[in-house]
Subunit: 115 residues, 2 copies
DNA sequence: GATACTGATATAGGATTCCATATGAAACCC
DNA sequence: GGGTTTCATATGGAATCCTATATCAGTATC
């Protein structure tokens, strides 16, 4: 019964990870080499077959020149707007075109239903 | 040799988690109950004795009305400014006074040294 | 003193991440 | 055809997250 976690990475995050890697021209092997992860594990994370520990994910996003920031929920739209804006101006061809929140497309807004 | 991950949560994040819980008047038991985690595990995470999986941490911060957002590294200062501003205006007595980046005080900026 | 609440710690077991190595498929090149 | 690169998958094992229960110290209240 207990919904024990999401048990998966938000799809948006996975896609971002994937696109960020491709935009650098890095293979899974190359990305894994830079953080000390076997290619198999990078594959498992990207395809959503495994949920990494927080420190593992943090290493990955940092090598890809990103960061995971803790923000008040009410500020998430503003932050996303900031990111979207940044990409339009500076990172035009640098990356993907995605800026969706971690919310939205993991299909489980309130997974525990204890309202 | 291989610096295998940070192996711990950034201190700033741990402190934020702790303060956010206290500001709600929740005990570790209460917080754990809301996400399906035993009190012992909440304690282990808050004291830095364990690094949670990403989905576990995401559940925790969401119950505390926060979110983990992936942002380009160059945007981290701007996002932090946004958060700091928000707290000064809306969340005056709502929470802690911290807004430091996930960077800075974990003592390991470039843990793999492969520059 | 007795009871209750909070937080940290201990042990033991199950589940999963993570590591190391190898293989197969698909898409490229020569 | 042969070779290379990329990615998904398989197996076996080590590390650790996570669960469950119990104990202990500190604080507060009766």
């Amino acid at each position: 019964m207990k919904p024990t976690r999401l048990h998966k990475l938000p799809d948006a995050l996975r896609k971002e990870l994937h696109q960020a890697r491709l935009s650098r021209g890095w293979s899974q092997l190359e990305l894994g080499r830079r953080v000390g992860l076997p290619q198999m594990h990078v594959s498992a994370i990207e395809t959503g077959r495994t949920v990494p520990r927080f420190d593992t994910l943090l290493e990955l996003v940092r090598v890809l020149d990103r960061d995971l920031v803790l923000v008040p929920r009410a500020l998430v739209p503003a932050v996303n707007a900031l990111v979207r804006d940044y990409r339009r101006q500076e990172g035009k061809a640098d990356d993907v075109g995605e800026e969706t929140s971690l919310y939205a497309d993991d299909g489980s807004e309130t997974p525990r239903g204890t309202m």
